[in-house]
Amino acid sequence: MKISKKILVGCLALAVALSSVVFLHASALSTLMTSRQIQQIRDNCVTAKNTLNQLHASDALLRVNIGQTYESISTKMMEKFNKRASNNNYNNDSLVSVTNAYGQTLDVFRSDYIAYEEHLSTALSINCQDQPVSFFDAVALARAERNQVHTDVVRLNQYLDKYQTALNQFEKDYQDAVKGAKQ
């Protein structure tokens, strides 16, 4: 019984300490904004929300369309050519390696987009008249996630270039092999 009381007291102390940290953090965030900035958020609340709603919809469309394109490049092009090269006993290691890295980046892109959409939805659900600071912070989090999604897109495009380079090398190797067979 004594032990359980000690545990209870310990848990209470921990809860108080944690809530203090959270409160201090929240206070620190709030103090970073001046009352003028807070008023500006309230003034532009409706406009900002409309812009966010439009962005939410246009980014969803972009995610569907570009995600489908990236997916099709992988399944309808890269994988098919790799398989064809493999079936004909050509060395396709570099092509497969780039395809795998591309696939992994595509998975990261998918999960990062989910995180971005969730943060943006959170921002949209906050009443910016009543909670301007929370709204500002939620938008900042969504912005960071969107930048991450953009980074993923840039990486995917780099893999498209790498596959092109690997393809050029494959063609060169093929031509060398054909020349070697003729001689």
Binding site: L61, N65, Q175
Partner: protein, 119 residues
Amino acid sequence: MDEPKVMAIVNEMSNSGKRRFLLFIIMSMIVSSVLVVVSMQLYNSSGAAQLDLSRPGYISVRSQAMIDNSDFGDYSSTGSINQSAITEFKSLYKKQAQKTKAVDAFGGDPLSAKALGLN
């Protein structure tokens, strides 16, 4: 067996049947509620919710979703490898890669405080 006794037994069975039917309805509602919660959880966590343009907020963009991507061609994974097959694939791939890279997806900074008029 006299008539009042028979009536009492019939009534008792009828009440028992009603209770069982009620229990059956309640259990069905509980099971269906659990299944709905699980499926909604899967819908949200799998990323399907983010791709579902039939949601109310996406009405304005729904019609612009790419339905047909037949311009990817139908490159076969079978067949021989020769110069013509490589050239055909390179041409298809280059076209799609250029088209994809031309889109500055998720670029810019529309969520900046300045763009939203928040600073």
